[in-house]
Every structure is written in structure tokens, then in C-alpha cells.
């Protein structure tokens, strides 16, 4: 099948050409990068935007009055508004908080909102799909505050089992869930769950780390109260993450990290915090990374997020079909069978071959997949495996990448055939 048949909406070959790393040759051939769920590659425009910042307006933000310091500050605030618009934030100037990554964003919610609002007798509801970043902060806080943690269980195909949801939500103060699993690709029914949670008196914190890069996101129509994501999974640089929160909640929350930039006033007796977002942004921010994220969002918007999603469904469907036809029962692909119910993340288990060995053979063919537990050990336990080999797709992956994956899996099966 040609690339042109697969994508109706943008030319993948052209997209691929925008990514310098994907022009590299590895092991004597093209690189097949299938690990975007861990971190995406960066288009030249993102790299250029960061370089241009360093070469033309590099200065600390928010405090200088000279021209380039003002230009740097303006660029930072322009990115905030741009990122906010990208996710449908009603008040981007105040509601978009820049963090280090999704992990820090989720810790911010746990420490600040959770620290002020959770105690004995309260409950937090998580799902069995969660990444450790949306599990461990709650355990850490639980040790101090003594609230209950509950789990939404899974069906056999790794979708949320909502049979008992009303009982599970009873007495819950916060539902913290992923919008898309980084292991099984499962898309969760965020809107439906948010309605139920709000009806039960709970707030909703969304781990949108795998969602924002892949699907058009509107925090208002999703109805959530917080949303966390990372720049590096959406064509942006590492070291920059986002927390979006409802203005009224952010206003009422206590501060998180303390230091410069987050205060209104400091005296010998104490301090007065600044208003959001500054309140939650202590210290010099990663200015170049924030500017790089702006360029990444521009790039994604130029492709169109609906087209991004359509490409992903198409390539995922092609992969599911190709791999199932070729390997049948010998290959287990965890998660929903229906491409529309999932993202472009395939956790693979090949009969008789450990994921580490599988990934090693794939590496010989420049097929980059990730073996391991993908920071979701409770989910691995539910799936009944210690590890999987995960292949994940993004805007620059084409059917050649899928075919290379299939061929390399075939080689692995031959190599380890018992």
C-alpha cells in the first residue's frame, strides 16, 4: 500500500522530511522510529525557534526593562496564550502553568490542591491504566494525609470497566485519570466520566500526556478541572510541561515550589504569593523550551489535529491488520481491537520471545521500539505480563515503518524459533 493511499489529509513524506533525525541512516538503512509515546522527534522549525531565541533575544524574563529582555518575556507569554488556545483554555493568560513535564504538573495538583483538600475519610479515584506519574504522587500524599485510593478496573481488552462506577465515585473528591493509555492506547470516556464525577461532587484531573499530542483537545468540552501534558511528546523540546487548571481553583490553591517569580511581596516576616500562573512558576523558566513548544503547536496546528488523528487511526488500522494477518495467534496486541477506540500505541507480546529480546532483534533492523513496563507496573500486573515491546506511531510514521516492524518481528520469530 502506498503512503498516498493511507493518508488523505497530509503528505507523510513531506512531514518526515521536516525532521532532521529521521533523515539519519542507521544500520545501513532508514531509521524506523516507533517510540513517540516515550518522546517524539522534533521538526526543524522547533530546533530553529530555540536556536533563534538563543542567538537573538536570550535574556532572563519578567525582570528586565531592556529591549531583548522584554522580547524574551513577550515570546514566553505569547507561547502561553498559543498553548492555551491549542487546548481550548478559556483564560490562557492565567490558566496555563509552565512546568518541567507532565510529571511535575501532576505533582503540583497533588501537592497543592490535594494537600489542601484531602484528608482522612476522603477518597481519590484512579484507573488501572495509569502511568506512575499519576499514581506515585497520590501514594506519597496518602502517606501524609491518610485518604483512600480506589481504582477503576479494566475489561479484558483494557478498557475501563464502568459497571461499578457509581459506587466507586461515592465519597470521592478527585478523579485522576489518563485520557489515553501509554501502554494499550486505550482512549477513556473522559466526558462521560467527568459528568459522573461532577455529579458525585468530585473534581477531575486529566493526564492528557498521550492525548494532547494526538487528538484535538478542548478542555471546556471535556469538562475536566485540570489537564497535564508534556512538550516533548508533541514535537516540542524536553524540559517543558503544562498544567492547565480552572482559574477559580488555581486562585484558591496554595503555592507549590517557592522562590523568585512566584511572589507578590516578601518581608522579614513572610511572603505574599503572586496570582496564577506566576504563583506556580518559581525560578527562571525554561524560556527556550517554552518558545520551542510554541513552534511545535504551530506545526501541529498547520497539519490540523483532525488530520493528525485521522492519520493515526489509518496507520494503526494498517498495523493491526498487517501484524494480525502475518503472525496470527503468535502475536498478542494488548488493548482495544478497534482502531477508533485507541491511539497509535501497540503493546506487543510475541509467543516465546521476551520483549527485551524482541526489541534487541528489532534494533538490528533500525526499528526503534521500547521494551519494559512503560512506567505502568500496576497495569502490567492486570495484563498479566512483566513487560511488553511497545511500538507507537506519530505524524511522521508511514506504512514503510509498519512493514519494517512486521519484517523485523518475522526475523525475531525465526531467530528464536524453538
Amino acid at each position: 500500500m502506498s503512503t498516498a493511499e493511507v493518508t488523505r489529509t497530509f503528505d507523510v513524506a513531506k512531514v518526515k522530511a521536516d525532521f532532521p533525525l529521521l533523515q539519519r541512516e542507521l544500520k545501513g538503512g532508514p531509521i524506523h522510529y516507533l517510540d513517540s509515546a516515550a518522546s517524539s522527534q522534533k521538526p526543524q522549525v522547533v530546533i530553529d525557534a530555540m536556536t533563534t531565541y538563543y542567538e537573538t533575544i536570550n535574556a532572563n524574563v519578567h525582570r528586565g526593562v531592556y529591549e531583548i529582555a522584554e522580547a524574551a518575556t513577550n515570546a514566553l507569554e505569547a507561547s502561553r496564550v498559543r498553548v492555551g488556545r491549542f487546548i481550548g483554555a478559556p483564560n490562557p493568560e492565567t490558566e496555563v502553568i509552565f512546568s518541567k513535564n507532565a510529571t511535575e504538573s501532576l505533582n503540583l495538583v497533588a501537592r497543592s490542591w490535594g494537600g489542601a483538600n484531602l484528608g482522612p475519610g476522603d477518597a481519590v479515584l484512579l484507573t488501572q491504566l495509569e502511568h506512575h506519574a499519576n499514581i506515585v504522587p497520590w501514594f506519597q500524599l496518602q502517606a501524609e494525609k491518610g485518604f483512600e485510593i480506589r481504582w477503576i478496573p479494566l475489561t479484558a481488552d483494557a478498557q475501563l470497566d464502568l459497571t461499578d462506577i457509581d459506587r466507586l465515585l461515592d465519597g470521592v473528591k478527585l478523579l485522576a485519570l489518563t485520557a489515553m493509555s501509554n501502554v494499550t492506547g486505550t482512549l477513556t470516556p473522559v466526558r462521560e466520566l467527568t459528568e459522573k464525577a461532577h455529579a458525585a461532587g468530585a473534581l477531575v484531573c486529566l493526564d492528557a500526556c498521550q492525548y494532547v499530542p494526538h487528538l484535538a483537545t478542548d478542555v471546556v468540552s471535556l469538562g475536566v478541572d485540570f489537564a497535564a501534558f508534556s512538550g516533548h511528546k508533541m514535537l516540542g523540546p524536553t524540559g517543558i510541561g503544562v498544567l492547565w487548571g480552572r482559574e477559580a481553583l488555581l486562585d484558591a490553591m496554595p503555592t507549590f515550589l517557592g522562590g523568585g517569580g512566584m511572589i507578590l511581596n516578601v518581608t522579614l516576616d513572610g511572603f505574599t504569593p503572586a496570582a496564577p500562573p506566576a504563583k506556580f512558576e518559581a525560578g527562571t523558566p525554561p524560556v527556550a523550551e517554552i518558545i520551542g513548544l510554541h513552534a511545535a503547536v504551530d506545526y501541529l496546528d498547520a497539519l490540523g489535529m483532525d488530520a493528525v488523528r485521522e492519520h493515526e487511526v489509518t496507520i494503526t488500522a494498517y498495523a493491526l491488520r498487517t501484524l494480525t494477518e502475518r503472525f496470527g495467534e503468535a502475536l498478542t496486541i494488548h488493548g482495544p481491537a478497534e482502531p477508533a477506540a485507541r491511539g497509535g500505541v501497540l503493546s506487543l507480546a510475541m509467543e516465546g520471545i521476551h520483549p527485551h529480546d524482541l526489541a534487541q532483534v528489532l534494533d538490528e533492523h533500525a526499528v526503534c521500539v521500547r521494551p519494559g513496563h512503560h512506567c505502568a507496573k500496576p497495569l502490567m500486573k492486570v495484563l498479566g505480563v512483566g513487560a511488553t515491546a511497545r511500538a507507537s506511531f506519530y505524524v511522521y510514521n508511514d506504512t514503510d515503518d509498519v512493514d519494517a516492524l512486521a519484517d523485523a518481528l518475522g526475523e525475531a520469530a525465526d531467530f528464536f524459533s524453538f
Binding site: 521476551h354 520483549p355 527485551h356 529480546d357 532483534v361 519494559g372 512483566g386 513487560a387 531467530f415 528464536f416
Partner: protein, 167 residues
């Protein structure tokens, strides 16, 4: 460029397909220690039965892992049976030396450094035998942890057994 055949030698695949000494031992008298590879979630359990004279009477391996960690554990179990704890320690040092892991913990863990030479290499001439097949792992640095998982777990068991059977 190192190839797959450097890593997956026939003897390694043989031990992976037919692991030796799989199973459990009754505890006590045996000790049970668990080892985790936090990167990949692999888990190894070592059951070690040391008799009154300080000799490994029996050993069993449990858990799951890749071909490298499983074959390393299997070969290890075959190699240490019938050896004294001191011999087991020397073998472990030799194996980890081959993996070029000069971990300071190894020099100090319940042992004086006197058996190591200036380079931290074991002075004794320890025969690695089949274990030499794992030498190729060094060319794949991320897999070294797979190869040493069983040995690190074994060392914990040896330390426990040594406390129970002071020489």
C-alpha cells in the same frame, strides 16, 4: 558492529529454552531472595540451601525474564552447586569482572578487598566455563543488568546464608 550472534550464543539459547534448576526450595532451611530489574520489570527469585559446612547443597531459580537474565541464572545455578560460599563469591567476582562492572559494592560486601589485585580483578584463577558465553553481553551495555541480575540476587542470598552459617 556487534551482531546478534555475539549476544545470543547457542549455549545461551539452550539454557533459555531448557533452564536448569527451575523451581522452589522449602524456606527455611533454604533462603529466598528476590531481585528486580527496575528498567524492564524482570524479577528473579533465588532459593539457596547452604549446609552446615558452608557449601551450596541446592539452589533453585524462579521468576521471569529475558533470554539473557534467564540463561545467566540457569548457568549460575549449575555453576554454584556444591561450591563453598567463598568459592561462590569468587565466581561472582569473576563473572562480574567479565561484565566489566567494577562495582565498589562488590569489593566491600561482607568481604575484605584482600583477594583483589590493584585493578580490582580477582587474584584467584576462577574458571567461568559455559558462563564465558555471556561475554558478548558487554557489547550491548543495556543488557549487562540482565546478565548480572541473578548474580546480585545470589549475593544477597549468600550474605544471608553466611550469617546463618558463620564460618
Amino acid at each position: 558492529m556487534p551482531g546478534l550472534e555475539d549476544l545470543y550464543r547457542e549455549i545461551i539459547l539452550d539454557h533459555y529454552r531448557s533452564p536448569r534448576n527451575r523451581g522452589e526450595l522449602e524456606t527455611p532451611p533454604a533462603t529466598r531472595t528476590e531481585g528486580f530489574n527496575p528498567l524492564c520489570g524482570d524479577e528473579i527469585v533465588v532459593y539457596l540451601d547452604v549446609d552446615a559446612s558452608g557449601t551450596v547443597g541446592d539452589i533453585r531459580i524462579g521468576g521471569t525474564g529475558c533470554s539473557i537474565s534467564q540463561s545467566s541464572a540457569s548457568m549460575m545455578s549449575a555453576a554454584v552447586k556444591g561450591k563453598t560460599l567463598a568459592e561462590v563469591r569468587a565466581l561472582t567476582r569473576a563473572f562480574k569482572g567479565m561484565m566489566s562492572l567494577h562495582e565498589s559494592s562488590l569489593d566491600t560486601d561482607g568481604e575484605s578487598g584482600e583477594e583483589l589485585d590493584a585493578d580490582g580483578e580477582p587474584v584467584e584463577d576462577v574458571k567461568l566455563g559455559d558462563l564465558g558465553a555471556l561475554r558478548g553481553v558487554v557489547k550491548f551495555p543495556v543488557r549487562i543488568k540482565c546478565a548480572t541480575l541473578a548474580w546480585n540476587t545470589l549475593m544477597q542470598g549468600v550474605d544471608e546464608a553466611a550469617e546463618a552459617h558463620p564460618a
